[in-house]
Structures are given as structure tokens and as C-alpha cells.
Symmetry: C2
Subunit: 435 residues, 2 copies
């Protein structure tokens, strides 16, 4: 295929007209498809239905140590749940606190606590004139929403397939003590599906931030969320690496079973150093008497152990893999050689990241929407919803059934083509054909 930029203006005009005809055919179909959020599909949810049967009216709901999971108590999680989640998060059970149903909520609480009470004795952030966070971009919109909500200034850090720009991070945290944290999705990152390289993780562990209360927010959301059995990314375990580097308190690590059992009905956890845990517990014992231990026990009895959980994730992968491969195949079929966009092909996680020609993302997403396909809002992958290049679009292939996904992906490619042709024509000073 010839690159669009090498088309003559007449060829581009003709192309644009024919694409517009195709687009109108899609519009006539009254589609209602959604590739916006990383939602598991119904078949994935069905995988965990056995979880509804592991506890019955005849079950004892006792932990091995005799704790009755039905009553008050146990602030930081039952021992069995700590073992399961610690294995999943690759940390010691001594370094883990089990929470409720949402790791996002744990991250929110962590920022909120730092605002009102500081970090391990530091000045509460709400008493400071300025607090800043580093935000590898593109990234996860809900992370950025938390820091924005608390009035924390966000600084974009470019991502590469190795992870965020470590030169920039090292320099910034060393020189500016108002920088208090960085949002990371280190494995199968949201949205690019990149996993941080060994060197990147090592440099993270060796950061020398000017602020004593600087913390790495390590959201390991996709730790065992591989698409392939034999082709998995490996991430160096950050807690151990920080400890080895003499920076034991530098990191909070977050995870949950939201995309393992049921989103909204899973269990979440934080893993961190003993000093940080002590700091957290001071808040936690005020905030709650304890999280849902029955649900912790339900997870433990259903999965058994980390091996059971990993086997379970193979079944998720069997459902997700064809969806990723379908979208990637269509993007190749539709766009190879056109030089109108690039995309990632991750080995895990929930997203494909697409970069359109600069200035086209908003228009592409709007065009998809007008034809009945909802994408993540353009800009959502950047702090304040502002993608400076207006280029990045997150594709979430998990939810729609394969036939719908094919339609949605083809329509998406069509919208990319239309906006690319339009952009090039406009840059050449041409009027864009109305039909």
C-alpha cells in the first residue's frame, strides 16, 4: 500500500470521497458498540461463577487460625488472603495489607492520607504551597483524576517501550522537592501494554528524590494478566529491588483481583515496607474495623493458591487473546503502509494504544461515536485530558464479542483513514470534499 502522504491531491480527494461513502454505510447500521473501558466480557465473568459455590450455608467460615470471618476484626486481612495476594504480588506476607474491593480506592486513600497527614511524619501536603506528581504518558485516566482532584500539579513524562523517561525522572525528583510521587503501571502498562525494562526498574529503585515523602505509586494492575503462556513479560520485583538499593520505603505497590475474579467484587491489596505499613495502619485503624473477610475467604477457597489463580488466568487469556489478535490483524489489514498511525501489540494487559497523525485523535473518536462506536475519550490518557499532540487513542478490546469487535475495529480504521486524508488535504491547502 502507498502511504497517504505520497498520494496526489486528486487521489486523496477521490479516496476521501470513497471513505465517506463507506462511513455513511456504517452510520446507517445504527451500531451500538463500546471499546472504551477495560471491562471483562461476559464469558470472562462466567469463568469465576464457581466462586458463588465455595461458601454455602453449611460451610464453616473460619480461618485456619480460628478467626470467624463473619464477625468484626482483623484490620489488615486474613492470613490466607495475605498468602494468596503476596504470591500474586511477589512479596512477603509481612509486607501486605488486604483491603476492600478496589485498588483504585486504596490509591485514593493513600493520596488523601498524604494530603491530611503527610508521609511517615512529613508535612501534610495540604499545608504545602505546591505538590506535584510525575505522570508517564500516555497513562491511566483514573490515576490522573485522583491527583487532579487533590489539586496536585501533574508533569508529563514520555513513555517508551522500556518505560518512562528515566533521565527526566531522575533529574526532576532530584531538583524539585515539591514532586511527591509518580504514577506507574509497570507491567502491560495502560494503555500501551509496555513492561518496564530491568534497567528502568533498577533506576526507579535507585531514585534520589529531594522530597523525603516522595513515593512511587506502582500500580501492578496486570501482574499475572498475560495473553500468552510462552511469551510473557517479566518485571523485576520493585519492593525487593528498593530494599537492595537502600531505598526500602520508596514504593507503594498496588494490585487487586478485579480482572481475575469479579470487577467490583474482588479484593485489593497494598504491598510496601514496614515503615510505610506502620504509617498506613495509623490511618486504617481509624477508618475501618476491617474489610470484607468473607469475600477474602471466598477468594482463597476458590483459587486455593497462586497456581490455581494462574491457571484461572490462562482461561481469561484464552478469551482475550483472540480479541487482541483480531484487532491487531484488522489494523494491519487496513493500515499497513499507509503511514497514518502506529499501535502497540502487547503480550498482556487490557489495552492497545494507537497513535494517529498529530491533531487527529479527537476527530477520530468523535467520528467513531457518530457511527455508534464509543472509544475512550481522546486526551483521556493524559493529565487534565490534554494530549498535546492530540494523537493517542486507547483501544479496549476485551468487552465486545468478536463479531462486534471486528465491526468496531474496521470502523475505527475507517475513521483514522478519513481524518488522516482530511488532515493531509487541509495541510495542502485543499478544501475537504463535503461528500
Amino acid at each position: 500500500m502507498k502511504a497517504y502522504k505520497d498520494y496526489t491531491t486528486d487521489e486523496l480527494n477521490a479516496l476521501y470521497r470513497s471513505l465517506l461513502v463507506q462511513y455513511k454505510e456504517y452510520q446507517a447500521r445504527d451500531l451500538q458498540l463500546n471499546m472504551a473501558r477495560g471491562k471483562p466480557c461476559v464469558e470472562q465473568l462466567d469463568l469465576s461463577m464457581g466462586m458463588m459455590d465455595v461458601l454455602s450455608g453449611d460451610s464453616d467460615l473460619l480461618c485456619e487460625d480460628g478467626t470467624d470471618c463473619r464477625n468484626y476484626g482483623v484490620l489488615d486481612g486474613i492470613k490466607e488472603a495475605k498468602i494468596l495476594m503476596a504470591d500474586m504480588m511477589e512479596v512477603s506476607t509481612d509486607n501486605i495489607i488486604i483491603y476492600g474491593n478496589s485498588s483504585l480506592n486504596v490509591m485514593y486513600d493513600t493520596i488523601s492520607r498524604s494530603m491530611t497527614h503527610g508521609v511517615m511524619g512529613s508535612t501534610p501536603w495540604c499545608k504545602l504551597d505546591k505538590v506535584k506528581f510525575l505522570c508517564p504518558v500516555p497513562g491511566y485516566d483514573r490515576h490522573f483524576a485522583i491527583t487532579e482532584y487533590f489539586g496536585i500539579e501533574m508533569i508529563n513524562i514520555p513513555m517508551s517501550p522500556e518505560g518512562p523517561d528515566m533521565d527526566m525522572i531522575e533529574r526532576l525528583v532530584a531538583e524539585d522537592d515539591s514532586i511527591k510521587g509518580i504514577w506507574c503501571v509497570p507491567k502491560y502498562s495502560n494503555p500501551q501494554g509496555y513492561s518496564y525494562s530491568d534497567l528502568t526498574v533498577r533506576r526507579f529503585a535507585r531514585l534520589k528524590p529531594a522530597a523525603q515523602d516522595f513515593r512511587i505509586y506502582w500500580d501492578n494492575a496486570y501482574t499475572i494478566h498475560h495473553l500468552y503462556d510462552d511469551d510473557q513479560d517479566h518485571l523485576i520485583e520493585i519492593l525487593a529491588e528498593c530494599k537492595r538499593a537502600g531505598n526500602p520505603d520508596l514504593v507503594y505497590k498496588f494490585a487487586s483481583t478485579s480482572k481475575i475474579s469479579f470487577p467490583g467484587s474482588g479484593i485489593a491489596a497494598i504491598a510496601t515496607s514496614h515503615n510505610n505499613m506502620e504509617d498506613i495502619r495509623k490511618q486504617l485503624c481509624i477508618q475501618t474495623i476491617g474489610h470484607d473477610k468473607v469475600n477474602q475467604l471466598r477468594h482463597v477457597r476458590y483459587f486455593g493458591d497462586i497456581h490455581g489463580m494462574v491457571e484461572h488466568m490462562r482461561r481469561h487469556a484464552d478469551i482475550l487473546r483472540p480479541k487482541f489478535e483480531l484487532v491487531e490483524r484488522i489494523l494491519h489489514e487496513e493500515m499497513d503502509g499507509l503511514e497514518i498511525g502506529t499501535w502497540t501489540e502487547p503480550r498482556g494487559g487490557y489495552f492497545i494504544s494507537f497513535d494517529a497523525l498529530p491533531g487527529c485523535a479527537k476527530a477520530i473518536v468523535a467520528r467513531c461515536k457518530k457511527a455508534g462506536v464509543v472509544m475512550t475519550g481522546a486526551g483521556a490518557t493524559y493529565p487534565y485530558g490534554i494530549d498535546p499532540a492530540d494523537s493517542n487513542i486507547r483501544i479496549a478490546p476485551s468487552y465486545p464479542p468478536l463479531p462486534d469487535l471486528e465491526i468496531a475495529a474496521r470502523l475505527f480504521a475507517l475513521c483514522v483513514k478519513l481524518e488522516a486524508a482530511k488532515k493531509i488535504l487541509t495541510e495542502r491547502g485543499e478544501a475537504v470534499p463535503a461528500k
Copy 2:
């Protein structure tokens, strides 16, 4: 029985010696009993075991509106859960947000949000020099712990069987705009089991606080937690009363099913005005994608409706009532006429409040502990753990089996007697017998 104060000093000395002999007999028994926390007992937990069976691997987990409870979404609770909790809380479904497993956590979040973001646009409390809360005393230690954690100054408000001292409250909130809230357990209060009178509730609804961001924290923890079918306290519904009084935004009402289904595995809710809900939702949508909808559905399918829930509470009452009556009977048997203590005899809730002679509470609780019976710490029912009269002790009769409870209550009475005799002897300038 003759009042201790009317004993001669010789009589008191003899009495003290004989009580001490009895006490040593208890000590020799190596007791391990607990009347410290309002924990349901095993038989109460067993009442809800059917809840483990209402959802099975074959169940559909769909709401009536088609929402799949297993997936992400629904920020403020499924409709069915709103209906159930709204009926329980005596409010409209339009005025309710369903949360996770803990109403304490909702209260914490409410204070925390006010600290960082203010209330409906007011200055964030963390930016103010001084924030104060009114605390009816004796009250709930975990309430006071939240306000203490956030550095909020607490002001004691005396309780009477009608509720807190409304003259004092009206005066204080009108003259001091740094007073931002008041903690209330308006029905079967913790620890006295008092329910606010109609007049008290009406005066609450008509408060004219100097601070626009003053809110009543109405923790209706024991709303349907009656001990008697035919002798129930009735509380005027505060949201409606505030609305009628032209103060629709004055109150946050909290409740949960912690002592209905399972503590730690129930569902919690807040009920409040639309303006307050809008304010809350701005935070909530940042904090979480949603709470545990599967557990919401489990509760709805198990209880069916409010009638099912009320019937369920009759079964709780059948277990709790004999425990309350046993403790009250023993207190009467042991102490009537001695004038060494008074206590409440509530018609619902989880506690009996005992007032010893001033200056004796700490010593009584310590003495109980030395003989193997753990009571709520003396002072816990007051802000900062300081009971100015050192008189109030909270008795929690729910957890121990009846035979244990009888032993614990008799020992408690014995310790009250010992400390009363000691106090009177000391006041008369007498040395207290060593044995």
C-alpha cells in the same frame, strides 16, 4: 439493702474484706471473658448463613434493569439495594448512596473529604486554623477517634434520656463558626441506649449554625435493632424533618447492615439531600469505580424486602434480649439500694451504660481485667479517652454466652462494690484493708 454511704466505717471495712475474698476466688478461676465490644455472638452470625446460599454458580447475577452485578459500574449502588436500604433508613431511594462494607468508613471519608475539599464549596477544613466538633457524651469511641485523627477539637455535650443538651448545642453552633459538626447516635445510643425525643430531633432540624458547612453526623446504627417487639423506641426521621424546617442540607445519615447480616461483610449507606449527594459524588467518582454489587445483590435476594429484614431482626432480638435482661437482673440483684452506681436499661441497640461513683471507673475496669474480664476501657466513651468524672463504663452483653455473661456481670458488680467501698473509706480518711 443499705446504701454504702450509710455504713459505719467498721461495717465498710468488714465488707471490703469479704468482697476481697470473693474477688480472689474469681481470680483463681482463670477467667477469659469479654464484654468490651458490640460484637454479635456466634448464634447471631448463624442467623444469616442462608445468605451464603442465595447466589450460586447457576444464579444470574443481574439486576432487574439488566445490570450485571459481576462487572464494573454503578457508582452509587444497584436500585434493589437502594430500595432495601432506603426502607431501612426511612428515606427515599433518591436520597441514598450505597457504599462498601462499613458505615464507619463512610463517616471517615466524609470528614476526610471535608478536610481536603470543604462542604458544598466551603473552604477546606485543612485550610482553617481551627475546626471543632460537638460530641454528645458518653458516646462512640470510634467517632471520637476519627475527629481526633484529623486534629478536630472536640467539645463534650452532656446526654440525657431525651438526647444531648440542645440548649448548649443551639448556643454553641450559633456563636462559633469553627464548629462544623456533631456526632449523633440518635436511636438506642451508644452506650446509653437512649433515643432522642421528638423535641430533640425537631430542635436538631431547626439548628441555625453560624458555619454554612456545619453538618449533623446522624449515625443511625441501631435503626431496626430493637430488643422488644411491642416496646420499641420511635425516632422522627431527620432528613424529612430538616426539609420541613427549611434546612434540607443539614444532615448526613449513616447506616449499615453490620449488625443485621455480617459485621465486615455487610453493606453501608449514606442518606442525605440532593445537594450533599452531588457534593459527595464529585469525590466518589474519583475514589472508586463502584462498590461490591454482588454483595448488594446477595443482601437483596436474601432479605427480599424490609419486612424480611425486620423479621430477621426479631431473631437477633430473641438472642440478645435474654443477655440484656440477665445483665440487668444481676445488676439489680447485686446493687439495688447500695447507691454505688446507676445504669441504663435500653429497649434496643448493643449496650448498657453504667455510671459508677465518680473516680471509680478506671479502677473498676482494671480490677475486672485482673480477674479475666475485659470491659471497654474506662474513658473510651469520651473524646480523647477522658471521662472527667471517671465514672462511665460501657457494658456490651452481646458476645458472651449466657453462662459466661452471668459470671462476667457478677464479677463486674463485685468490682464496682470493691471500688465504691474503697472510695468511701478513703474519703473518710481510712486506710483500705490490704486483705
